[in-house]
Amino acid sequence: MFDLDRWREIFQSINKNKLRTLLSGFTIAFAILLFTILFGIGNGLQNTFKREFAGDSMLSIYIWANKTTKPYKGLQSGRQIQLENSDIDFILDKFDNNVNTISPRIQQQVQAVYKGEQNNYTLRAVYPSYQQLESAEVESGRFLTMLDLQQRKKVVAIGRLVEKDLFGQLSGLGKDINLGGISYKVIGTFSDPGGSNDERYIYAPFTTIQRLYGNTDKIGDVGLTYNPNLNVDQAIAFGNKLKNALKDKHDVSPRDQSAIGLYNYAEGNKQVSMMMLVLNVIILFIGIGTLIAGIIGISNIMVYIVRERTKELGIRKALGATPGSIISMILMESILITAIAGYVGLLIGTGVLKLIGESLEKYFITNPSVNTGVVIGATITLIIAGTIAGYLPAKRAARIKPIDALNDN
């Protein structure tokens, strides 16, 4: 139902009372503006968190071995536990459903030499699947493959910074480098979102290194990623079960806390998600607080407007305005102002976020932005609040005897 005459009345009233309109519009626009900016900054903080913790796969578990600290089954304490190839098979055998990828690892410091350049790096002997554990991204060439392992090839994938150190501006791909006296061919380079430390590793096929240095079944440590379908609590439970199973396999006392070491990223995840939750709650509180301030503002203004117009409403009633027409006139006016002002606030807010978004990155805020739906929801909340706030005084004004309204000064 579109009543042109009624809208004319409303536009005239808005037009002829610019200060009043501006005042109420400003309150709404300001509330929505603050809401948008605060929400946007909150989202920006969250984005930063997400990015900072993206260095390694969030779904990984690392396992290593130490000396026992408790005697068990007739064995003395102080016994060195050694992880072996059979442990990989054991884990895959027992926890096949929960393990996504798994890789053993042997780490050692090596001196790398290429022509005149030389430097010390950590050499990691791993499976091809280790790439997922580090979230490493191939820049050129390729990472290790199963074929490299089967043939025990003397090849390496080097980090971006290793290449920079040894080869300068040139590409290291296909070149031979000398690691601790043995020559390896560079088959690929990689970068890592985790940053510079993670880009100074050299990766070689696990089998090659195991054969070259000692020719045993020994493993330094084990990294694995677990089934992404596990939730945080399930993943933590899986880590604990895995630890206990390995203790059992190596005849370690169940109460021995140090012989088998296990770091589960899920526990870190849990902390991060707790932090995100707290952050979300804070943002929510600020948002709700801003909205409440806006609601109180618009309510006050509505009460004031109706008060100011009491006499006019009395005249209208004397001339034949029904209470319903009085109420709907005031409400439509307030809804119109709120909707337009809310939209203006939204536009300014998103504009400001776009403008300052880039420069906020050094303050731990990345790409601050808001979900348009959230802001429209906030505007609708304010419209409803404004309507309720306007309805009560409007109803009272419509009920007041015309004669009392006329005598009002």
């Binding site: 042109l4 005459d5 004319r8 009345e9 005239q12 009233s13 002829k16 009372n17 006499k311 006019e312 009395g314 005249i315 209208r316 009633k317 004397a318 001339l319 034949g320 305005a321 029904t322 209470p323 319903g324 027409s325 419509a398 009920r399 005897k401 015309p402 004669i403 006329l406």
Partner: protein, 230 residues
């Protein structure tokens, strides 16, 4: 046109109640020009408010144009006011952000008359009160007498049965008082029932019937021999 039987009205004043109208009986026929005289506190404004459906009576009967007024809800009262009654107030009560023309056409808006038609009729009435040239002026740009003439045009625009005027000249000087009274007389001569409340003897004398109120009762009710003013 207006018939009042044993009308009572009191207002609560703290714990006590103030008995303002104490059983009024009054009958006004169509086409009469009646003034209600009385000092302040005599109950004359209360009477006009009840007759004008701006307030409700406690006891007795009020019949407007053959219709018994009782249990009026706000909406029905608004419709009746719009249809049967035109108001002229002491303080004009124009809407200050609307032009003279818009003020005059307002009752037609609430009567549901279309915009074009509204403006046409309102203009006719403005011209009738000789303010056609001022149609697009705001009340603040008009003199007191002009404002009251706009208010009279507004009261007439719906062709009501009765025009109710509450101290219509109370805020005007003697010259403009005369012009406003002349206007009311013209209206009456055209057959409109006019009901004026005043405390000025001079104003009352220009009507055709004077009803005097004192302390909530009618003390006299007499026809006036119209004198032509020198």
């Amino acid at each position: 046109m207006i018939e009042i039987k044993n009308l009572h009205k009191s207002y609560p004043m703290g714990k006590e109640s103030l008995h303002v109208l104490k059983g009024l009986n009054l009958k006004i026929e169509e086409g009469e020009f009646v003034s209600i005289m009385g000092s302040s506190g005599s109950g004359k404004s209360t009477l006009l408010n009840i007759v004008g459906l701006l307030d409700v009576h406690d006891e007795g009967e009020y019949i407007l144009d053959g219709e018994l007024i009782e249990n009026l809800n706000e909406k029905k009262a608004a419709v009746l006011r719009n249809k049967f009654l035109g108001f002229v107030f002491q303080s004009f009560n124009l809407i200050n952000y609307k032009t003279a023309l818009e003020n005059v056409s307002m009752p037609l808006y609430y009567a549901g008359v279309g915009r074009k038609e509204r403006q046409k009729i309102a203009m006719e009435y403005l011209e009738k009160v000789e303010l056609g040239a001022w149609a697009n002026h705001l009340p603040s740009e008009l003199s007191g007498g002009q404002k009251q003439r706009v208010a009279i045009a507004r009261a007439l625009v719906t062709k009501p049965k009765v025009v109710l005027a509450d101290e219509p000249t109370g805020a005007l000087d003697s010259t403009t008082t005369d012009s406003v009274m002349d206007l009311l007389k013209d209206i009456n001569n055209e057959g409109m029932t006019v009901f004026v409340i005043t405390h000025e003897e001079e104003v009352a004398e220009q009507t055709k019937r004077i009803v005097r109120l004192k302390d909530g009762v009618i003390i006299s009710d007499e026809k006036v021999n119209q004198k032509v003013k020198a």
